[in-house]
Structures are given as structure tokens and as C-alpha cells.
Symmetry: C2
Subunit: 380 residues, 2 copies
């Protein structure tokens, strides 16, 4: 096991009716920025629940956070914070709204000239942030219980992430009922996103961390088991609760303690979203099997362990096939051709960008720009 | 899944050499109470590592915390804190020292006349506590990452527990190398203690919490797998690391989120320690199979699930037998007779005490004083 430092101070308020619990947790003396996305919370009753819980407090609304939250939009929110003397951000929505709230919270306290450098420097230059509370309505990213954020920049077609211990939400409400009205596509995306988050922390090489392995496999098995009901029965509370808690545990960083991690699938997939606008989960489902195939030798033992324990198959290749079959079973495509995107062109574009940045990824730092090009080309 | 609130703010510093990381985490301007037990830390080098990390700070030592920490001793530590103007407690040792530090931290800030009421009222009257840092040298109780504490009172032969969100350690160092010099008996106790902690949160009835179930089973499987090496090879770093992390995850309260819990084994076992002085884990190993046998019908489905997934057996009875056999395989007795204690007398004494307090336990609140008497009598 590798040495590690783990701290996750976010308070989780889980279950039906828990939105009302925020009442005592949002400081009364502060102006509150109520941040949300496209307005679905106005259709499903969450907006009213939040307003009721915040009754008597000075609340400034800021809607319109995009599915891949834009730097440009976040800057407007920072302006609002300064103008309105806001002291607390309440983020209500999915991972995009939560990720945006983290960048906004850090940018509002940032003393440098260019807040995009927060992304460029992976958050190492973040020294403070406004306090954040979250109400999660879309289980997927794990953003409700970590210090990670991914932000896109329209003007440059960039998509970068940062981490800071200052941007963990103080609390996150996870009420499975808020997911009942989600479009099925978003639930599917959430399942794949959570699944791949586990894989980034697990599918590397044996590293004498048997508890972390088993806990990772627990999340995978549970996601596979609950996926059909979570997709087919939108009001199945128990299925949605299990999915929601699994997505949080997939990336509250606990299962990644003390083990090597990969994350090359995410780094490559981010670029496909930046260039082609595919949903985050759609790009993950395309790239993951490609990374595994490319690193078949280096990941063989772990793929075999995964295959044996999760799918009851023997070989690494079967484990990859089972994973793709799982994605297909929930109607998630796994090829660029399924979106009429030229794999050859995508491979060239992403290779160029990584070559410019001199990027290498993966648990062995061997996913070079050329490797990325091969992986993308293999996903035609 | 039941509604739940989960927060665990303790920072875990895990791995060899991590004691030095406390240097920046203990506030420089405060007097520090360096709390420890019987002095084993002076034999194994931990004492010197701590002194080196605290160099330049005002440190007051307080040794002599007992294996079942005494209220009477804790009160002396509180006196020292007041006299020496201490602002931070550094607890170095096993669960006993950590549990003592929590009570001392709360009692030092307690405004009531009788600090024993903290135990009597299960911590609900704790409004503040001194900050605590911990260096764990004996994996077992999980005290390094929770707000629980168990304290014994010599004068009345009582053993009670309390919980408070104010007494979570700010940080806990878990360096597996600090366990290399432990007596084998303490390692055995630690394995059983951690194992039973999982069971108290798991072995109830099916409750639509498949992820929590699998994570609990992950800890059980890992403890069973690592026990032989952890016992036979004291300097096997990886085995000790896996054991240490398993013991923490067994009771950082994560696996208990959203599920019914039992804890009757602990409540009964505490009394056996209070009356007869057996080690905590020794009493757990005696009582656990008795509780399961007594509640065989109510726990049948969960015992079967456990038997199937962890031991590859079919029936609830086989699952109980496998568990006792596991305890025996690591030389942990499971009968009162093994300690020459009369089960009949013990049943009578504990029954009387619980009847006085009008106590009932268990996930169905049906472990009455009469039930306790039957359970203890069955463990002759």
C-alpha cells in the first residue's frame, strides 16, 4: 500500500425530505448565491423546497450553468458575488453546477490577475474559497463529496480540471426523490460516469491493497446490479438511492487511498467533449475499452481479477468484452462511429493538443500523445 | 435505505514515516498534552518520533492510561490540563488512549458539575471539546476516525460509551510500522474487535442497502484473509497496513450509513469486561455467536447472505460455525468456560444491571435483560 493523506470533511445529508435540513446550515448573516443550471429544478419542485428552506435569508439567484460549465459564465457569477456581497454559495443541480460553484468560490477569493490559472495550475494556487453547500439532483460526478472541478473555456475549446481542499462542499444533500424527473439519458450517463470513476482508481496493477480493491469492486457490482431498475423505474426510490450513494462513493476519493491511479481515460475523453461536444459519459464509454486494450499487458492481472470477481470470466479480454456489453445493455454506445465522428481526425486533433502541452498520462506515465492517437484511432 | 447524516472530518495520515507530518498540524501557540498508556511507545521508538516532531513546542506528558481507560485517571488529566493551560491533546497509543483523550477533551470544556454525566447522557450534553490529534499504534477500535469513546469507572464497576461530533480527532497518524512490536495477543484482539464492529452494522436484516452490505463484506473478507500474516509475521508491512486500514474502515461509521444496526454484542460484552476484567475483544468473541444463535430467525436472511458471500456456505447455522472456527483459528476462545467464569453467575449479574437501567438492545429492541441472561448462559 502506498502512503496517503485522506480528508473528506463534507457532511452528507442523505434521504427523502433532507433539503429542509439546510435551514440551520446556511449562515443567516450572509448573502447566499443560489446557483443552478437550465431550470429543471423549477419543474421538479426542488426550487420551491430550497426557497422554503432559505426563507428569511438574502438570496441572489444565478441560473444558466451549462452542462459543461463555462469559464465565461462562471466569471459572470463572480461579478455578481462581488456586486451583491455574497458570502455563501448554494449549488443546486448536477456535477456541472457543483463544479461551477467550486471554481466560482475559488475565483471570488483569488488574488491573481487571471483566474484561468486556477485550472492551468490544477488548483495549487487556490489559497481560499467561499463556503459551498450543495443539493445534488443528478448522481454521476461525485463532485458533491470531493474537491474536484472541471471547467471548459469556450474561447479556446479547452476543458481542464482543478483540485483544492478549500472547495469541498460544507454539506451536500442527496435526496433520491430529486432524481425521479431526470431524463433517462442523464441517468445512463451518471451510471457510466460513476463506473469509470471507480475504474480510474482501480484498473491499474495489483498493489497490495486488498480492501481498496474489494471496495472498488463493491461499487462496480452495485452499479451493474442497480442499473436496470434505476433506468427502467424512475420512481423506484431504493434503486435511485443505491445508485446515488454508489456514485458518491465512486469518487469521494476513499477507494483511491493508497493505490496507483490511471485517469488517462478521463484526460483523453475531456478532449473529445471539448472538440465534439459529446456528453462526458459518452466519451468515457468510448475511450475506456481503448485504454484497456492498449495496455492489455500492463493491466492484465487486474483485468483478470476484475473479470473473475465481477463478471465470473477468466481472461482480461473477456473482462473488456463484458464491460462493453454492460454499456451496450444500457444503450450506451462505445464507438466514435456511433456518433459519426471520424476516429482518424479525432486522433490527430487530440494528439496535437497533448503534444503541444507535452502531456503524458496513466499509472505508468506511458500514455504519450502517440499512444493517445492510437487509442482514439482504435475506437472508430 | 434509511435516511442518514454522515460527516467524518478526521484527516488520515497513513503510512511509514508519517508521524513527522504532525509537525505542521499541532498548533505552535498551544501547550500540548502528550497522552499515552503503559509506556510501550518508549520501547518501540514512537516516543522519540513524537518528541522530534513536537520540537520547540510546550509539551506536558501524561502517561498511564489503562487498557480500559478509567474515569478516575481521566479526571487527573483534566486537572493537569487546567493547571498547565493546555490547548491541544495529542493521543499516542491504541483505542484506550484515544478514547481517554476524547473524554478528557470533552470534560476539560464541560460546564456541568459531574463530568460522568457525559457518559450517562451519551455525549448529548457535550457542547465543546479541546482539539485532539492521534497517533495510532494498535489497530482495533476505529477510535482514530470516529467520535466514539468508552470509559470505565472503577468505583462503580461501570463501563459506558459516549458519542460527540466535537471529539473526532483533527488528524490521525496510522503508521503500520508502529504495530511491529505489539504483543500478538493485542493483534488478535484487534482483528476480532474490528470484525465485530463490522458485524454490529451489518448482521441485522436485509434493508435495501446493497453497497453498504458489500463494503461491510469487503472488510470482513479482508480481515479474514490478512489475519494469518498479520499474526505470524509481525514485520510484514503490507499485512499490517491492510489490517490497520481495515480496522479504521470497520468503524469510521461509513458502512453503517443508512442501515439498521445492532450493537447488543458490545453492550453485553462491556459488562463482562466491567465485572470480570476480560479484554474487550475476548468478551465480543464470546457474545457474538450467542446473540446470533438467540436471534437466528430474525437474522436468518442476513446470516445466509454472509455465509454465502464470505464463507461459501449455505445456512445461517453454518455461517455461525464458520465464524467461531475463524476465531478459534486465530486462538481466540469463544466460551466463558475457557476463562473459568461461571456463565450462570455472569448471566445473573448482567441481567440485574440491565434490569436496573431498564435497558433493551438490538436492531429490533428485543434484547431485554431476560434475553441477555439467556444469551450469556448459552456461552458456558
Amino acid at each position: 500500500m502506498q502512503n496517503f493523506i485522506y480528508k473528506n470533511p463534507t457532511e452528507i445529508l442523505f434521504g427523502k425530505g433532507m433539503i429542509r435540513e439546510i435551514a440551520g446550515r446556511v449562515p443567516k448573516e450572509q448573502g447566499v448565491l443560489f446557483l443552478y443550471g437550465g431550470g429543471s429544478i423549477k419543474a421538479n419542485g426542488v426550487y420551491e423546497q430550497v426557497k422554503a428552506a432559505l426563507k428569511g435569508q438574502r438570496v441572489v439567484e444565478f441560473g444558466g450553468i451549462e452542462p459543461n460549465p463555462l469559464f465565461e459564465t462562471c466569471l459572470k457569477a463572480v461579478e455578481t458575488i462581488k456586486k451583491e456581497k455574497i458570502g455563501f454559495i448554494l449549488a443546486v443541480g448536477g456535477g456541472s453546477v457543483l463544479d461551477a460553484s467550486k471554481f466560482i468560490a475559488a475565483a471570488a477569493c483569488f488574488s491573481g490577475a487571471d483566474s484561468w490559472s486556477i485550472l492551468r495550475e490544477n488548483g495549487t494556487n487556490v489559497k481560499a474559497a467561499l463556503p459551498i453547500g450543495a443539493i445534488l439532483t443528478l448522481p454521476a460526478t461525485g463532485s458533491e463529496a470531493n474537491g474536484n472541478s472541471v471547467i471548459s473555456r469556450k474561447s479556446t475549446q479547452e476543458k481542464l480540471c482543478f483540485f483544492s481542499r478549500h472547495v469541498f462542499p460544507l454539506f451536500s444533500v442527496l435526496d433520491p426523490e430529486t432524481t425521479f424527473s431526470l431524463p433517462i439519458k442523464q441517468v445512463r450517463n451518471g451510471i457510466v460516469d460513476a463506473f469509470v470513476h471507480v475504474m480510474e482508481q482501480y484498473m491499474t496493477y495489483p498493489s497490495e491493497a486488498p480492501l481498496q480493491d474489494r471496495m472498488a469492486e463493491s461499487v462496480l457490482q452495485t452499479l451493474i446490479e442497480v442499473a436496470p431498475a434505476a433506468l427502467k423505474k424512475p420512481k423506484d426510490y431504493e434503486a435511485r438511492a443505491t445508485f446515488m450513494w454508489s456514485a458518491t462513493l465512486a469518487l469521494n476519493t476513499l477507494i483511491g487511498c493508497g493505490v496507483p491511479q490511471d485517469w488517462s481515460t478521463h484526460m483523453i475523453a475531456h478532449e473529445l467533449t471539448a472538440f465534439y461536444g459529446l456528453d462526458h459519459a459518452e466519451t468515457l464509454a468510448i475511450i475506456l475499452p481503448g485504454v484497456w486494450q492498449y495496455k492489455l499487458t500492463a493491466k492484465k492481472k487486474k483485468l483478470e481479477q476484475y473479470g473473475r470477481r465481477v463478471w465470473n470470466v477468466k481472461t482480461a479480454k473477456e473482462a473488456i468484452l463484458k464491460t462493453e456489453a454492460f454499456f451496450h445493455s444500457i444503450k450506451m454506445p462505445t464507438r466514435l462511429g456511433d456518433y459519426k465522428i471520424s476516429a482518424k481526425e479525432a486522433a490527430r486533433k487530440v494528439r496535437e493538443r497533448f503534444a503541444e502541452r507535452d502531456s503524458v498520462f496513466g499509472e505508468h506515465s506511458d500514455i504519450t500523445p502517440d499512444a493517445v492517437s492510437k487509442i482514439i484511432a482504435s475506437r472508430a
